[in-house]
């Protein structure tokens, strides 16, 4: 009959850890790690919040600028609308009639040779604007002056 040379008390003693590892975490270290983690987490959160705030602020600014641009576009359209109203043929016609203008009864087309056309162009270009005659009817005083000058020249 064989007998077990190892007693129960001896085997128990062998499986139980006898000593802690050198770098074991004691309570102060755990607290310190928790604190470090909290600081890191807080920092990251702050960074994220800061970024989010910056984006939100930029977004708001972008929105404001966009609104401003839209307002300017609307103002531009309003001006273009004013221009269209002023240039409306119906209004111009009415205004011209008020000023005594009438539509011409007929247009007269004159055919000229290219040489004559060139000569006419040359003369027109050479004529100073004051002498070429304004499209507007001269005022009463100007008219009187012109008549006086013509009378003197006679």
């Amino acid at each position: 009959m064989t007998t077990n040379p190892v007693t129960l008390s001896q085997s128990s003693a062998e499986v139980r850890p006898i000593a802690r590892p050198a770098g074991r975490l004691d309570t102060p270290r755990i607290a310190l790690l928790v604190l470090l983690g909290a600081i890191l987490l807080g920092g990251a959160s702050l960074l994220y919040l800061n970024l989010a705030a910056t984006v939100a602020t930029s977004s708001t600014r972008l929105q404001e600028l966009s609104k401003e641009r839209r307002m300017l576009e609307w103002q531009r359209t309003e001006k273009a609308g004013d221009l269209a109203r002023l240039a409306n043929p119906q209004r111009l016609e009415q205004r011209a009639n008020e000023l005594g203008y009438r539509a011409p009864r007929a247009f007269t087309y004159v055919t000229v040779s290219p040489e004559v056309a060139a000569a006419l162009d040359h003369r027109l270009l050479a004529t100073p604007p004051a002498e070429s005659g304004a499209t507007e009817t001269p005022g009463g005083w100007t008219n009187l002056q012109q008549q006086f000058q013509r009378w003197l020249a006679r």
């Binding site: 309570t27 977004s59 576009e73 609307w74 609308g81 269209a84 087309y109």
Partner: protein, 573 residues
């Protein structure tokens, strides 16, 4: 567990106290913001909520071909209220009333709405100065908002071409509806009031602008002369179109009665329809031009072909009369066209036969929409020989434009084909789609098909010039004009109306180099009924104005200029 030494305990306690203190302050601050009432914040909050997560894209503008604005968006200022933030409705209403020009009682009723609403609009269509005054008043719960408002600065000018945009942003009729996708653009997104995800931001793309082929000046001339013609005849209404026959570009398109798109809300809805593309009528004798063209194309007749005109003809048991009920004796096709004799047109279709006649009628674009870029176009009605119940009488009446239905745009497109050398062109009203100065799309003329051979064009022009020599009031001194009158009967439930007609004239000029083709149609004129009396004079007046405006030289001037041009391979004269 090893107990902490005293120093470590103290340090930890200090750190936790600091953190705890922060937490307490944060908690108290949170409680303060959450629990305490803040009217100003509520107002700001509701203002933020009113702004949608979407950024509205601006709607494109519409210009005429000279660059005048016909439609565009401007700011509309609106005064609204966040009812939760309004603490003293009577006081707010009293202060707001003089600013917005509404009675205080009405404003107060709006502010004290008991139907559970939290938001209401109190006044709109305010100008910027008023809006600023309301803002400066800083009334609790009162908000000033801006929205786009569609305006049509030239009022009723080209209203049927433009259509309109309702307050809800939906476009109705005209180019506004047809080009809605291009004009509308694409909305953008903010990604919420507190945007933390930049990837959710999408910038809006504003709508494209449209440049029409319409010329505001020619449009004005057309509208003015059409109104005069309709008023002079106490007519029910009328339409007129001016088209470039070579391209199909519409220079003017007018109808009476019309409306102001700025006041669409108070306009009877039946006025929104564009009669030029949507209202069918029997074109009458104008269609004889198509009948003659078909006969020339098929070689069954020439201008010298003659027949004995006894003033009437029996077809399918029914007597068809010439309009004047006079026997004209031996007449050729020039005279048939000049005097607009129905019997002669019936002779032509009988020589053609139904198959060839209806083929040409459809080739000219009748019975199908022209494809013009406007909403609401209808295709017209042709009962051809394949239709149930069709008979010889249908063929005979169709020869002179009765018993069928067409739109004015179909009639002018057919006349343009005769004017331009035989090509049927697709009419269009939008010349360019633009984004700022960048041209996105430039419309090119579309030639649908050749409907008259070039060798038959001189004969067609000769016949139509002869018509204007008869209908002398359509003539324009100095210019050779071609055209055809029409005085069509109006179908009713009990056959044709005995008295009322639709008087029309479709013509073009100068015949040698057509610059414009014009259709005039006057509905139910009271004093005179014939196209030569009602529509032809209007055509003459309008054509002269258009020629003057476009600088189209009279025939003698044009010929003189052409004679001076150096001939290819020859010496300059």
């Amino acid at each position: 567990m090893t107990p902490l030494d005293r120093q470590t305990q103290r340090r930890l306690a200090l750190i936790f106290s600091v953190f705890g203190g922060f937490a307490l302050v944060l908690a108290l601050r949170l409680g303060y913001w959450q629990l305490m009432p803040h009217a100003d914040l509520q107002a700001a909050d509701s203002a933020a909520k009113l702004q949608p997560g979407q950024i509205k894209a601006g709607r494109g503008a519409i210009y005429d071909r000279t660059g005048l604005l016909l439609a565009g968006d401007v700011a509309e200022f609106i005064v609204a209220a966040d009812l939760r933030a309004v603490t003293n409705a009577a006081d707010v209403a009293a202060k707001l009333s003089p600013l917005v020009g509404r009675p205080a009682d009405e404003l107060r009723a709006g502010l004290e709405a008991k139907d559970g609403r939290t938001y209401t609009r109190l006044a709109r269509n305010l100008n910027e100065a008023t809006a600023n005054q309301v803002r400066d008043a800083k009334l609790p719960g009162i908000l000033v908002e801006t929205e786009a408002k569609r305006v049509y600065p030239m009022g009723s000018t080209a209203a049927h071409v433009l259509g309109f945009v309702a307050a809800d942003g939906k476009a109705y009729t005209g180019v506004e509806e047809y080009y809605d996708n291009a004009l509308r653009g694409e909305d953008g997104t903010w990604g919420g009031a507190l945007l933390v995800d930049p990837t959710r931001f999408r910038a809006p793309r504003d709508g494209f602008d449209l440049v029409l082929t319409i010329d505001a000046n020619i449009q004005r001339m057309t509208e003015r002369e059409l109104s005069k013609a309709v008023e002079a005849q106490d007519a029910a209404g009328g339409s007129a179109i001016v088209m470039d026959p070579k391209t199909g570009a519409i220079l003017a398109m007018a109808s009476v009665p019309t409306y102001d798109p700025n006041r669409f809300a108070t306009t009877p809805p039946d006025r929104f329809e564009n009669p030029v593309i949507s209202k069918l009528y029997e074109p009458g004798s104008v269609l004889k031009a198509v009948t003659l063209a078909a006969a020339l194309e098929e070689g069954v007749a020439s201008l010298n072909t003659s027949y004995d005109d006894v003033g009437y003809m029996r077809v399918g048991g029914v007597t068809i009369w010439d309009w004047d009920r006079v026997a004209h004796g031996r007449v050729d096709m020039r005279t048939m066209m000049r005097l607009s004799l129905n019997v002669g047109a019936v002779h032509l279709v009988q020589m053609l036969g139904p198959e060839r006649f209806y083929k040409h009628l459809r080739d000219f674009g009748f019975g199908a929409p022209t494809g013009i870029d406007l909403t609401g176009e209808v295709g017209g009605l042709i009962r051809d020989y394949k239709s149930q119940g069709w008979g010889d009488l249908d063929l005979a009446t169709n020869a002179f434009g009765q018993g069928m239905a067409a739109t004015p745009i179909q009639v002018i497109t057919a006349m343009a084909a005769i004017a331009n050398g035989g090509r049927l062109v697709q009419p269009y009203v939008v010349q360019q789609i633009r984004q700022g100065d960048r041209v996105i799309k430039d419309t090119r003329p579309i030639a649908v098909r050749q409907v008259v051979s070039p060798q038959n064009i001189p004969a067609m022009h000769e016949a139509l010039v002869g018509v204007v020599e008869q209908a002398v009031r359509a003539s324009v001194p100095g210019y050779t004009i071609g055209g055809k009158t029409g005085s069509s009967q109006i179908p009713t439930d009990k056959g044709y109306d005995d008295e009322l007609t639709i008087a029309s004239f479709a013509g073009f000029g100068p015949v040698a180099d057509p610059q414009v083709v014009i259709l005039v149609k006057v509905d139910k004129p009271v004093h005179r009924q014939l196209g030569s009396e009602v529509a032809a004079p209007f055509f003459g007046v309008l054509a002269r104005q258009v020629f003057d405006y476009l600088g189209v030289p009279p025939d003698n001037v044009r010929l003189a200029a052409e004679n001076r041009k150096p001939k290819p391979g020859g010496d300059t004269q």
